[in-house]
Subunit: 399 residues, 2 copies
């Protein structure tokens, strides 16, 4: 059976052109970039070339890019690195309830270290109100971190507006652009951000490569101490092939951005229109300000996990915003913070398109998905009024 992949938010397949660019650094050009001889300098040059490619994607300087092993590492590094570097100026940081766990859990770590953290509420679309950001700023505030776009509901946040507020108040502003960078145009100068996280595998690059943009002159405490790699800001022997792959993927994303976005929007709108016709199925996230390849829904009376499994049996790979489906088995905090009732949040389903999806894929999805829903509702105790399992977002841990 042909597999149709609608889970690009989980990870992207590696672009064959990217893999080709990486290949020599696995084999003949395996040197350590710190070594002085030819093998080392070749690896070093490859990394610097990739740094430029990534910089060009977000309109920064090369020297403002620090490579990491993942978006999560970039988020931890940015968030804790700035909070610690500025702790003598204040111990209050602001995040939104839309943040990824790498930010939320870093924030909880800071709380244990005596920091105060504001977790900003969001509206029903998951949008952060810049005014709320402004109002939550105190004299102690040193850092604001707001996600660029939600991987769970696709909503794009008003980063530029928040950036303006942060700048006015002299507060450092970080955005987690893991789901955005490489998928929509991202310009650090236009956005007015001081730090920005990204991950290569979100735009057809390899796993194991992420990057943090750190605006020139910004002080930051390292997360990983050690050697002099990345100008002493991130230690560890560089993952040369992965970094090279990230660079190539960034170059391709930049070159093909308009086409990819155009095609994704067309297919996404067809998908949303088709799915929205199904009874008791609701779009989550913002109807317009959303990632071009992102379509997310809640389906009443059934659970995300069951949908995923039945869809997979039909060769359709998707995700569920309910973390239950990703082996954590709790109702999605993001959906709950948007005011989605916990029973409905359990029925979350997320389709994220990629550059290789076709119109025929969408047709297939639209023909199969309603049947999956119908079948599950026929089996569902909820649909029959048997009450909710896991009311309040609790569910047992899957073994």
């Amino acid at each position: 059976m042909r597999k149709r992949y609608f889970d690009h938010v989980a990870t992207n397949p590696l672009d064959s052109r990217v893999f080709e660019a990486m290949m020599p650094y696995f084999t003949e050009d395996f040197g350590n970039p710190l070594s002085l001889y030819g093998l080392g300098t070749k690896a070093k040059e490859a990394i610097e070339n990739a740094r430029l490619q990534v910089a060009l994607l977000i309109n920064s300087k090369s020297s403002e890019i620090i490579f990491t092993s993942s978006g999560a590492e970039a988020n931890n590094f940015a968030f804790r690195g700035i909070a610690l570097a500025r702790q003598n100026e204040g111990k209050h940081v602001i995040v939104s309830k839309m943040e990824h766990h790498s930010i939320l859990n870093s924030a909880r770590f800071l709380e244990k270290m005596g920091f105060a953290v504001t977790f900003l509420p969001v509206d029903k679309y998951g949008t952060v109100d810049p005014d709320t950001v402004k109002k939550s700023i105190t004299k102690e505030t040193t850092l604001i971190s707001i996600i660029h776009a939600s991987s769970e509901v696709g909503t794009i946040e008003p980063i530029k507006e928040i950036g303006r507020i942060a700048k006015e108040k002299g507060i450092v502003f970080h955005t987690d652009a893991v789901a955005a960078a490489g998928n929509i145009p991202v310009d650090v100068k236009e956005l007015g951000v001081d730090l920005l996280s990204m991950a290569a595998h979100q735009f057809y690059g390899p796993k194991g490569a992420g990057a943090l943009y750190v605006r020139e002159g910004m002080r930051i405490v390292p997360l990983i101490y050690g050697g002099i790699q990345e100008s002493g800001r991130r230690a560890g022997t560089e993952n040369v092939p992965a970094i090279v792959g990230m660079g190539k993927a960034a170059e391709l994303a930049k070159d093909e951005m308009a086409d990819r976005v155009g095609q994704a929007k067309k297919l996404r709108d067809k998908l949303i229109n088709g799915v929205s016709g199904i009874e008791n199925v609701y779009l989550t996230g913002h109807p317009e300000n959303r990632l071009p390849a992102h379509a997310s829904f809640t389906v009443e009376f059934i659970e995300g996990e069951a949908m995923l499994l039945l869809l997979a049996a039909k060769g359709i790979y998707a995700a569920s915003g309910s973390a239950c489906s990703s082996k954590a088995l709790k109702a999605s905090p993001v959906l709950l913070s948007m005011g989605v009732p916990s029973n409905l949040a359990q029925g979350s389903i997320v389709f994220t398109l990629g550059k290789d999806n076709t119109e025929e894929d969408i047709d297939y999805l639209l023909s199969e998905f309603p049947q999956v829903i119908k079948r599950l509702r026929e089996m569902s105790p909820y649909a029959k009024g048997w009450g909710m399992k896991g009311e309040g977002g609790e569910c047992t841990v899957q073994k």
Copy 2:
């Protein structure tokens, strides 16, 4: 010109059998291990298989292995993670002067956070005296971290003896086994360590994969917060191909350990005997208790960097224990702590052999190296008594 690689301590070439094992996870099997459908479970199974392979290499349980992106990350994670987890029990940690910068700089970070750190001295071979460890323990001591084997001088430390002391006193014991694991037999039970760091690219695995052994039941604060990967102890989408590669490399290292060690010792001894015949050249590190593939020297009157460049011109790739040669341009703290005078420390050269080096490689090295030394000494202001540049270990930063 044929290249002869004697810098396995910087990084190893990737074993083609390892690359082959990784390949499918770059292409068809690109799924995210957290995903519930087939692509995800396949990736998850691959990671669990690799975890077992790594566990078998060091005689641990699978559940005691946490994958990281590098040895440096594993060291940071272990060292700070334990110190923070145990800070209510005490704020004193012990390391040696032989440690890698990932430990030394993590220690300095802890000092800034109000911890006391003891930096243990070593003897002229770079060996830590277990009695000195014992004497430096206070009621406040919560963690001892001693390197298993030095990448710079090859000396193997008395880990087992120190492990016994740590256990007696109820102190957590970590060893940085980045240069040791996969290259000499390492058994965490026999060594009596609670945590152990390793890096795949040190035993023919890929860059971008490391691991930390954490003994069952040990509390540790994460370094990278986020999702539920690695049982919530290390977040970030797993670098599946690199992890698979680390597993395969661990399996091969275990299977071929005896042969590799035997061959390395034979070639190393030939190399050491040959080089030791050159005037004013001294072996660094322990003459017997050293890594089987490791031969390191100081060469009087000349600088490591110059040797590296001339050797490279002859197709011989080596390293210099002097950090000057690895672009940091300071005299090696490790050599200085062993009592090597700073002028001699500048003339450090390190040859590290690999499984693919041949006896003919050693013959070639032994025929070329004396000529390199002779030529440099003829040019050297030091040999002519012009005094030392960079006395006291200072040298300018290379641009």
